[in-house]
Each structure stands twice: as structure tokens, then as C-alpha cells.
């Protein structure tokens, strides 16, 4: 009684094959436009000078890291409740990209922190939560890769993603609470209001570029997973 009959790997595979190049092209165009706006057009920040431009990749990376984990938890709910193989494959296809973005958020945050606040690592609410989120990703990938039976790995990963996503707000609250107790100094990095229009355009372009990129990569990785798991006739039909 598979509710999602049309979402079977066999019908998803060719669809993903046609879709991912579209998203890849969108991502590339948006990225070029965003970088051009961010590096050349956006004005110099009166306080931080040129180094603030790192925000155009730091904030999208941090958002994508968080957003992808929640999408993974969503697919996890589908995988556990409807027992569909495809949603579990999509969840696992997203994990490496989510971890990459979370790592890049930490890396760019550190390189931005040094010239601006004097230290590579800032124990503030956002950065510390991003660090914990990175460990959640490492745990997810470690768990799903160390269980041999694919079905158990998918369902264990799904449950972990759900439990993790329920804990994210609690972790975020506790870390910001902890930060306010100790330094009381919160850094407002991307003060939305005082951002010049060009800055906002660059930021929005980069966020959507990262979205399109993540979708493209997830579709390609999902196709690879289908090839690894499903018998050849399921995906070998169309011209390779």
C-alpha cells in the first residue's frame, strides 16, 4: 500500500536526470551575478571596510546548513511514516552538502572574525550553534555509513535527523542563553536594516545560488544512490 506510487525510484530517476542541469545552470548564473554584485558593486562598509564582503558567502552557507538539516528531517518523517525508499535516498543525498555548507559557515565566520573582532573563533550564540549543527551532521553521516543494511541505515538516519531537528531550537536557545550569561556581547553581523540595496541584492542572489546548487547536487547524488541500490533495469532504460 505504497501511497507514493509515482515517487518510485524508477520514475524519479529520469526526471532528476532532466532537472539537475537546469538547477546547475541557475546556480552558476546566480553565483556569478551575486559575486559580481558583492565584490564589485556593493559599497565599502564604513566600519569594517572591505572584509565585510565575506558576509555574502558566510550567511548563505549558515542558512543552507540549517535549512538542509530541516529538509533532511522532513524526508526522514516521510521515510519512516510511509516507508518510501525514495525519501530516504533524498535525505541521504542531502547530508554531505549540508555538512559542507555548515563547515564553510564556520570557516568563513572564523576568517571574518579575525580582522573584525581579533579572534578566529567567537563563542557567540550563532557560531556555537553552527558548530553543534556540524557535529549533528557528522553523527548522521557516521551512523548511516556504518550500518551495512541499507534499509536500517536509512531508517536509523531518519530517526536521528528527526530527533536532531527537534533538539536544534533547544540547542540554539541554550547556547544564546549561555552566551548572554557570559559575555553579554552579541555580534550583529548582518544587520539587515543598514545594508545598502546592492548588498541586499548580492546576499539574496547568493542565497538562491546556494539553493539551486544544493538541489542540483542532491538530485545527482540521489541518482547515484539509485544506481548503487536498484537493479540495473530500473535505471538503465534511458540512454546513459
Amino acid at each position: 500500500m505504497n501511497l507514493y506510487r509515482y515517487a518510485s525510484p524508477a520514475s524519479f530517476y529520469p526526471l532528476a536526470g532532466r532537472l539537475w542541469p537546469v538547477f546547475a545552470v541557475i546556480a552558476a548564473l546566480l553565483a556569478v551575478y551575486g559575486l559580481y554584485e558583492g565584490l564589485f558593486v556593493a559599497p565599502t562598509d564604513f566600519q569594517q571596510g572591505e572584509v565585510y564582503r565575506i558576509v555574502f558567502i558566510h550567511v548563505p552557507a549558515a542558512w543552507m546548513g540549517m535549512f538542509i538539516y530541516l529538509v533532511m528531517a522532513f524526508y526522514g518523517v516521510l521515510a519512516l511514516s510511509f516507508n518510501t525508499r525514495l525519501s530516504a535516498m533524498m535525505m541521504r543525498a542531502l547530508a554531505p552538502t549540508g555538512m559542507l555548507f555548515t563547515f564553510l559557515a564556520l570557516w568563513t565566520g572564523a576568517l571574518w572574525g579575525k580582522p573584525t573582532w581579533g579572534t578566529y573563533w567567537i563563542w557567540d550564540g550563532r557560531m556555537t550553534s553552527t558548530l553543534v549543527l556540524f557535529f549533528l551532521y557528522v553523527g548522521f553521516i557516521a551512523l548511516t555509513e556504518s550500518i551495512d543494511d541499507e534499509r536500517r541505515a536509512d531508517r536509523a538516519g531518519a530517526l536521528l535527523a528527526i530527533v536532531g531537528s527537534v533538539n536544534i531550537p533547544i540547542i540554539y536557545f541554550s547556547v544564546t542563553w549561555w552566551n548572554s550569561l557570559h559575555q553579554g556581547l552579541t555580534f550583529s553581523k548582518s544587520g539587515g536594516s543598514k545594508m545598502a540595496p546592492d548588498m541586499v541584492i548580492a546576499m539574496v542572489a547568493m542565497v538562491f545560488a546556494c539553493w539551486a546548487y544544493s538541489i542540483a547536487v542532491a538530485l545527482v547524488r540521489a541518482r547515484a544512490i539509485i544506481r548503487e541500490r536498484e537493479p540495473a533495469h530500473v535505471w538503465n532504460g534511458e540512454a546513459a
Binding site: G49, V51, L104, L111, R221, A224, R227, E228
Partner: protein, 45 residues
Amino acid sequence: MNWAEFFSMGGRGAFVWGSFGVFALGIALEVLLLRMRSRRSKEAA
């Protein structure tokens, strides 16, 4: 457009290009690994 000044980023070039560089490197690495995985999964059938 003075390229030298652009790359120095007000003296903070190391940090700006360190960030953008690693970002590009990460994306490139993921795409590379993904292509290898795709090729391997196609041949393994």
C-alpha cells in the same frame, strides 16, 4: 578599475580571498567527488 587595490581588499585580502577561496574549493571538491561516485556507480552495474 585598479586590480591591485581590488585584490588587496583594503589590506584584508588574505581573509577575504581565504574565505572565498576555500568556499570555491569546497564546492569544487564536492562536485569532483560526486562525478567520481556517479561514474563508479554507472560502471559497477
